[in-house]
């Protein structure tokens, strides 16, 4: 039958990675909206403190670096998973989750200092948009940490061999996405505003 002729190469698309990328594309729009809201309100401090007074670039640089490195540990975990190296996989997963938690700790510290210095959710449009943006990013990081922890548990319970679906891959994609969003936030929201 002439199917071979009329039938091009079968779809090489992995179903769940395709879904993940579609979802991440949609998330780009979400953070795009939050970031541009911040850019619109960046100078509207309503008498409250503004970015110049508040932002502590050295501190934020460190936490940015932490998140950046968590991407490294994540990709190493993914690499270990592809090599079916369960031990390495767990190691790097734990490392990634820990770095994520360090970042969250840093964000918590930053928020509390800002609040202490007089920038609250209801201080100014600047404050509102800053907290909404960084808050939603933080929420994404937290969700990522949860997923990573889940992966570790699974890994101990049943193992995460290649045959067992592609969860490491999906979590990795999600985690890196959270990282690239922070790359943008760090540049546009922090560095460009001081």
């Amino acid at each position: 039958m002439a199917i071979e002729a009329s039938q091009p190469a079968a779809s090489t698309l992995d179903i769940r990675k395709t879904a993940m990328w579609a979802f991440l594309a949609s998330e780009l729009m979400f953070f795009g909206g939050l970031i541009s809201t911040f850019l619109l309100y960046r100078a509207r401090t309503n008498g409250g403190p503004g970015s110049e007074e508040l932002f502590d670039i050295p501190f934020t640089s460190v936490s940015s670096f932490v998140l950046l490195m968590s991407s490294l540990t994540m990709v190493l975990a993914h690499n270990a998973w592809e090599r079916n190296d369960e031990r390495q996989l767990r190691l790097w997963l734990v490392a990634t989750a820990s770095l994520g938690m360090v970042f969250l700790g840093g964000q918590f510290f930053e928020f509390s200092t800002f609040v202490h210095e007089g920038l609250k959710l209801d201080t100014s449009p600047f404050g509102s948009s800053f907290y909404l943006l960084t808050g939603f990013h933080g929420a994404h990081v937290a969700v990522g940490v949860l997923m990573l922890s889940a992966m570790v548990i699974i890994s101990y319970r049943v193992g995460l061999t290649k045959a067992r679906g592609m969860n490491v891959e999906l979590v990795a994609l999600y985690w890196h996405f959270v990282d690239i969003i922070w790359i943008v936030i760090f540049t546009v929201v922090y560095l460009l505003q001081v």
Binding site: M1, A2, I3, S6, Q7, P8, A9, A10, S11, T12, L13, D14, I15, R16, T18, A19, M20, A22, F23, A25, S26, E27, M29, F30, G32, G33, L34, T37, L40, Y41, R44, T45, N46, L121, D122, T123, S124, P125, G127, S128, S129, Y131, L132, F136, A139, H140, V143, L146, M147, A150, M151, I153, I154, V158, R164, G165, M166, N167, L170, Y174
Partner: protein, 659 residues
């Protein structure tokens, strides 16, 4: 998830085709979910219609006193919200769910449980918003929820609206991701993108529009929600907030939304016209590209909803011109539809009547749309009844006529019995007359200076006559809907059996039995052309005349011999509905903080239970359906098991076959 190892001949869900209530609630079968979407949408359609009748009765005479201003504002807000988010979108999802997988030769969508979650979230959101009726009044900030009006925190009503829309947004987003994945990865062998039925194409475009536009309004919704509840200042002009930002965020979503509503109907019509003209769709690729172009341009014209907001002449010019360009691909579609009928052997059963009605009525809406792109003229038409007339010609004359065309076209395939033709024709003519009687006068009213969303109007403004006519018309429409409901119930009971291929159809769904077996295809079809089924039935001689081939290309499931087909299907799951329940519980709790914290905790508990249950249903794939809420980040992982068995399909290797 049933493991792949020992596969029952036919999975539990498959065992009972109809099944009891539980079978429906836990179903992950795209066809069952599609039917549920359809029925729920029709119910909301009736509700929204009743709201519309109240509106028309109030406006039938000047200084109407049937309802109070307060009630009126609730009525038109919910009429818009219901029709857009709870009728047209879900019923398009109903057709998409039921037919896209079959049309592309798949056995289900990529993520069946995620699909069920989308549906139950839609139900939750719809019930959530509507329940405000018993809890302090329906939302009353208009369906566009303009801030700062919607951010005025006195009444709880707009919280229902904001949270409800957020939930519906998540539902649609998950659905969109699901459909993108399904169409990209699960097409049958040989079903290249350019052999897909136009309906599947339009659903793909819609899925992308949803994926890219919903997050934008979600941002705005969160801002309003926080303004109302946590004292943020996004829309508080007193402290430097800017109400116009909401209009941008809303219309960045809201305009693509218009195409989200109309493109599925265009897809349906593009299937119906060829079938009943016994000719292929004229300019298949152009119709597809035009659809994609409409979707793409749809993102560039949002500000034409803001021509009176004071954007300044430069922006107004830019968006005016962008808006004009949309008329071009729209025209292409209309011309191609006429070209499809041209030279055909045209029969006029009800689906065809509605399809032609669509083309005719939508053309009117398109033309009045052009007058909106003429910015100065729009400053007169904006927020007047002229606009109301325009978008009803697009969304009623367009979307709704297209939808009913689909209902009459596919009813037999879905329920095994055809809708009655005589009653159907009565339905069509009543609706066509009632529709024009209602909305054509609104053009005049708007140009005569009647603003929309007014609960009363003074006598002596010259609006009395046409308002009365419109009210009469609206009841003719109501009558036509009644006729339809009677027809549907009657035909479902004792309509004439449809058979596999009642219309001598062109696309894969007609190769299956009516209703299709729950595994859709006993043998995954191998596709060689656009309108593959037609070309398996008919050849073409040298002067392009169709020649009946003596083949029987029906799927074995449609044939009499009921053989055992070893098809593994995803087993039912009650975790999707549980997760939806948890999310909506959290939403209810949110409304009555701090007391609500207890409720929210309960909801979170349910959510966790659902998520872990979901995950552990298939130990291979933990943390299923993670965080459905929030920005709508539900990176779900449905087991690959039921999908990996799908025979992979060709990916867009260019030129459509068949030509």
């Amino acid at each position: 998830m049933a493991t792949i190892v020992e596969t029952p001949p036919v999975s539990p869900a498959a065992a009972e085709p109809k099944g009891g209530l539980w079978a429906w609630v836990t179903s992950v079968d795209h066809k069952k979910i599609g039917i549920m979407y359809g029925i729920a949408a029709i119910v909301f359609f009736v509700i929204g219609g009743i709201e519309a009748l109240f509106i028309r009765l109030q406006l039938a005479v000047p200084d109407g006193t049937l309802v109070s201003e307060d009630a009126f504002n609730q009525l038109f807000t919910m009429h818009g919200t219901t029709m857009v988010f709870l009728f047209v979108m879900p019923i398009a999802a109903a057709f998409g769910n039921y037919f896209v997988p079959i049309m592309i030769g798949a056995r289900d969508v990529a993520f069946p449980r995620l699909n069920a979650l989308s549906f139950w979230l839609f139900i939750s959101g719809g019930v959530f918003i509507s329940s405000s009726f018993f809890l302090g009044g329906l939302p009353d900030g208009a369906w566009v929820g303009y801030s700062p009006l919607s951010a005025q925190p006195e009444v709880i009503r707009m919280d229902f609206w904001v949270l409800g829309l957020a939930i519906l947004g998540v539902a649609s987003l998950l659905g969109a991701v699901n459909f993108i994945t399904t169409i990209f990865t699960m097409r049958a062998p040989g079903m290249t993108l350019f052999r897909m039925p136009v309906f599947a194409w339009m659903q793909l475009v819609v899925a992308f529009l949803l994926a890219f536009s919903l997050p934008l309004v979600t941002v705005g919704l969160f801002q309003v929600l926080f303004d109302r509840n946590f004292g943020t200042l996004f829309y508080d002009a007193a402290s430097g907030g800017d109400p116009i930002l909401w209009q941008h965020l809303f219309w960045l979503f809201g305009h693509p939304e218009v195409y989200i509503l109309i493109l599925p109907a265009m897809g349906i019509v593009s299937e119906v016209l060829p079938t009943f003209s016994r000719k292929p769709l004229f300019g298949y690729q152009f119709v597809v590209f035009a659809g994609a172009a409409i979707g793409f341009l749809g993102f560039g014209v949002w500000a034409h909803h803001m021509f009176t907001a004071g954007l300044g002449p430069v922006a107004e010019t830019a968006f005016g011109l962008m808006t004009m360009t949309i008329a071009v691909p729209t025209g292409i579609k209309i011309f191609n539809w006429v070209g499809t009928m041209w030279g055909g052997n045209i029969s006029f059963p009800t689906p065809m009547l509605f399809a032609i009605g669509f083309v005719a009525m939508f053309t009117i809406g398109g033309l009045s749309g052009v007058t909106h792109s003429i910015v100065p003229a729009d400053t007169q038409q904006h927020d007047s009844y002229y606009v109301v007339a325009h978008f009803h010609y697009v969304l009623f004359g367009g979307a709704v006529f297209g939808i009913f065309s689909g209902v009459y076209y596919w009813f037999g395939k879905v329920f095994g019995r055809q809708l009655n033709e005589r009653i159907g024709k009565l339905h069509f003519w009543l609706m066509l007359i009632g529709f024009n009687l209602t909305f054509a006068p609104m053009h005049i009213l708007g140009l005569n200076g009647m603003p929309r969303r007014i609960a009363t109007y003074g006598d002596g403004l010259g609006w009395n006559y046409w308002n009365f006519v419109a009210t009469v018309g609206s009841f003719v429409i109501a009558l036509s809907i009644l006729v339809f409901l009677i027809n549907a119930i009657r035909s479902y009971r004792k309509g004439e059996p449809a058979g596999a291929d009642p219309w001598d159809g062109r696309t894969l769904e007609w190769t299956t039995s009516s209703p299709p077996a729950n595994y859709n295809f006993a043998e995954v079809p191998i596709v060689e052309a656009v309108d593959d089924f037609w070309y398996k039935k008919y050849g073409e001689d040298e002067d392009h005349m169709p020649v009946r081939l003596d083949t029987n290309p029906l799927d074995p499931s449609a044939l009499d011999d009921d053989g055992e087909f070893h098809v593994h299907l995803p087993s039912p799951s009650y975790f999707p509905i549980l997760l939806a329940l948890g999310i909506v519980t959290v939403a209810y709790g949110f409304l009555w903080i701090p007391v609500g914290f207890a409720v929210m905790a309960l909801g979170l508990g349910i959510m966790l239970w659902a998520i872990f249950g979901w995950a552990l249903e298939d130990i291979d794939h933990p943390m299923g359906g993670d965080d459905g809420q929030g920005g709508g980040h539900g990176d779900d992982d449905d087991p690959g098991s039921e999908v990996s068995e799908q025979v992979p399909a060709g990916i867009g290797a260019g030129s459509g076959g068949g030509e």
